[in-house]
């Protein structure tokens, strides 16, 4: 991270400080708090989260979720951003994966076969699909964000993996076409010449 990037990050973390100049002066003394996210998962839960991230967005011809640092992002959100209800849903989901694999192969999720793990995650996806069909939203602005504490585990996990991957430096630069300063607008580009999405 170069100096300008560090300045920007800290200035934003300090947020409402009186002026940018003050925030730049103060920022050198502020450590980023990694304490909570380092301990939110026990080692097995952490390995499970890594596995799940890579199951959802694997390394292919481009890096996957692990290389993009997605598990760290998930840990940070679960530890520092989720409220109690959301955290509870997340941990219950991890447990449900174990329950499935114990019933199918008498093994916890981490130790089960790949096929079993896929089936366990697919079951969680079905839980989400059932939930969505019972909770259709309508009428409001289509781009308005919707916070739902009770959104099932797979919905939470998938959102974190997708956001964590595509907003990561690796994801943005290697899976997307990253152009932070496009220079011009072209309203008619042949996608077949590009082959990838442009990052936002």
């Amino acid at each position: 991270m170069n100096r300008r990037e560090l300045l920007q990050t800290c200035a934003m973390l300090l947020g409402g400080v009186a002026s940018a100049a003050v925030s730049r002066a103060v920022m050198a003394a502020v450590p980023l708090n990694r304490g909570l996210s380092a301990t939110v998962f026990d080692p097995d839960q952490r390995k499970t989260v890594e596995l799940l991230s890579e199951m959802i967005i694997p390394a292919t011809d481009t890096p996957g979720a692990m290389a993009a640092g997605v598990p760290d992002f998930i840990a940070q959100v679960v530890a520092e951003w989720y409220n109690e209800a959301e955290r509870a849903v997340f941990f219950r989901g991890l447990k449900a994966l174990d329950t499935y694999c114990l019933a199918a192969e008498s093994k916890v999720f981490l130790a089960a076969s790949e096929a079993c793990r896929i089936a366990a995650l697919s079951e969680q996806e079905q839980v989400l699909a059932d939930y969505k069909s019972q909770h259709t939203e309508s009428g409001g602005h289509p781009l308005a964000p919707r916070d739902d504490d009770a959104l099932p585990f797979f919905g939470k996990l998938k959102e974190l993996v997708v956001v964590g991957f595509y907003t990561s430096e690796v994801g943005a630069k290697e899976e997307l076409e990253y152009h932070p300063m496009p220079g011009h607008y072209d309203g008619d580009v042949d996608y077949t010449q590009v082959g990838r999405r442009f990052s936002a």
């Binding site: 409402g16 959802i56 602005h141 997307l176 082959g195």
Partner: protein, 564 residues
């Protein structure tokens, strides 16, 4: 208490304050421009600009607890996030009564004000707007017409640079244009289909205060987005990029940030405003500044708050409030109403490149030649919108599955969507108003603002028509799954709040005359949104700029003639 002396004092440094300071200093006056917010210098203080997504805290997920506690109003604004929060008002520090109920008062708390954050859409009003009150009897007649303001539209446009396409429409006069931005393939398609199907409406590219060519020392747009973080190229109009450098160049400007204006003093012997009372936002030190002219440009609500708080024996209900209308006839635009349709298969192999800081615009076509036979409302609305393919997160969340195929499927963007969002005119209603609550003081001892605002029958009918016409248009243009929507829309949501110190020829029913000059206090001018006698459906900021330049020209002539 210390005293100083200036030729002119400008309260506020946003869109109109910056313009007043530029015009006054360029005419040779020594000017003090005050802002309650902290300093933001062009380029060096745009701390959020170019922040890549991986450096935004929680990758952009909102800091819910902080926002709820300290920014319950501002966090509802579309441009508010961790890369812009430093520009916004802290609602906990500086609240209004019952916030955010009844009205969303979006505001910045920095030099430049909303000129840093605004949507940059700029359009001229026409006599369809200036004659509306007279024609249907809602509100009072504007004391000006298009011919009075047309030369000033040209004047401000030539300075700020406006990109757009000339369309020769009577209800939306053309500006002095820099080259227009491009529509994308689907927007062109929808435009062609709509214009083929209807003979009374058309679609053009948005008219924006964003440069498509270098202009007056500022660079053309780089299509980075989003503008509201700040633009070091100076490509969009803001105080920082445009009017402040011009004012500073004259050597006549004193700019003081962190200056909260408590009130304007009135001297009954001279029948003039005699000074502006300021409280330092950090030290609480009080200062009185005196000037020959006072331009009140603190934003619609900010300006009227100052005027209401400027009470004296001659003006017990606020400076210039002999009529009793100060604070009343608050208006906004209807907002968050629209339609969206899908085009599966259309231009599937085409995408767009670059973040265009602009959309398309469908000028008002309702009630433009008298009242339409099938319209159960007066006045009208326009659409702003555009076509886009879904973002990766949205697409991912609605694509089932996971793994290699899932990841690869996200490489192909989903189908094109076309959005149209309507902005509708709100009529002037006496009951829509702001007041000061003396028993609820802010941390400076200034009475807090309380809003009373509701939409009425005409606005509800306009919203219905926006959805109905929008659905019909997108369907005629071949979109499928066309859905209409209405998002959260309290007053203030469109951030086009106007009125409360309206212009009019009759001092018994207005606060300002045809020159934005306060009735009975000839050295006070109010040129921001507070002055507006009606709201139109057309974006107002360009009109604010033109009124300001025109009012300064008048004020300085009056000063030089010895009339003020």
């Amino acid at each position: 208490m210390q005293t100083q002396q200036f030729d002119a004092i400008v309260i506020g440094s946003g869109v109109t304050g910056g313009w007043a300071a530029k015009e006054l200093t360029e005419k040779g006056l020594k000017v003090l421009m005050l802002d309650r917010g902290r300093m933001v210098e062009h380029i060096t203080d745009y701390t959020g600009e170019h922040t890549p997504p991986w450096q935004v805290p929680f990758r952009g997920k909102p800091l819910r607890d902080l926002y709820k506690d300290e920014y319950p109003v501002q966090s509802q604004q579309y441009a508010f996030d961790e890369t812009t929060r430093h520009y916004y008002n802290n609602d906990k520090l500086n609240p209004y009564v019952d916030q955010p109920k009844d009205f969303l008062w979006f505001r910045a708390d920095v030099v430049g004000g909303k000129s840093l954050l605004w949507g940059r859409q700029v359009y001229r009003w026409s006599d369809l707007d200036f004659e509306a009150n007279k024609n249907d009897g809602h509100g009072i007649d504007w004391p000006i017409r298009y011919k009075d303001i047309a030369p000033w539209y040209s004047y401000v446009e030539k300075f700020i640079g406006v990109s757009g396409r000339a369309e020769n429409l009577p209800q939306l006069p053309d500006s002095e244009f820099l080259p227009p931005m491009e529509m994308n393939v689907v927007e062109k398609h929808v435009k062609a289909k709509i214009e083929e199907h209807y003979d009374d409406r058309m679609m053009t590219i948005g008219r924006v205060a964003v440069l498509t060519k270098p202009h007056n020392g500022r660079a053309a747009c780089h299509y980075c987005g989003p503008c509201h973080r700040g633009c070091s190229a100076g490509a969009y109009f803001s105080t920082q990029s445009s009017t402040l450098p011009a004012a500073r160049q004259t050597g006549n400007l004193t700019l003081k940030a962190d200056c909260v204006v408590e009130g304007i003093d009135y001297d009954p012997a001279t029948k003039r405003a005699s000074g502006v009372r300021v409280i330092d936002a950090n030290t609480m030190e009080r200062t009185l500044y005196t000037g020959k002219l006072v331009f009140v440009c603190a934003s619609t609500v900010g300006s009227t708050q100052i005027l209401l708080n400027s009470r004296s024996e001659q003006f017990p209900n606020g400076l210039g409030n002999t009529s009793g209308v100060l604070g009343h006839y608050l208006m906004d635009h209807t907002y968050a109403t629209g339609v969206v349709g899908v085009y599966p298969g259309l231009y599937a192999d085409r995408v767009d490149f670059g973040n265009r800081p602009n959309g398309i615009y469908i000028p008002r076509f309702r009630n433009v030649r008298g009242n339409d036979a099938d319209a159960d409302f007066v006045r009208g609305y326009n659409y702003q919108g555009g076509a886009m393919r879904p973002g990766v997160t949205g697409q991912a969340m609605s694509t089932p599955g996971f793994g290699k195929e899932f990841k690869e499927s996200l490489r192909t963007p989903g189908p094109w969507l076309m959005f149209l969002g309507g902005f509708g005119e709100c009529l002037p209603y006496h009951d829509n108003r702001m007041e000061l609550v003396d028993s609820k003081r802010d941390r400076f001892g200034i009475p807090q603002v309380k809003f009373h605002f509701s939409w009425h029958d005409n606005e509800r009918k306009i919203i219905d028509d926006i959805q109905k016409q929008g659905q019909a248009m997108l369907t005629a243009a071949g979109a499928i799954n066309v859905k209409s929507f209405q998002g959260n829309m309290p007053g203030g949501a469109a951030i086009h709040e106007m009125g409360t110190a309206r212009m009019g020829d009759d001092p018994n029913e207005s606060v300002l005359n045809r020159w934005n000059q306060m009735h009975g206090v000839p050295n006070v001018f109010v040129t921001d949104g507070a002055c507006m006698t009606s709201a139109s459906c057309v974006n107002p900021s360009l009109t604010f700029m033109a009124l300001t330049a025109r009012a300064v020209d008048y004020a300085v002539n009056q000063l030089q003639d010895g009339a003020i």
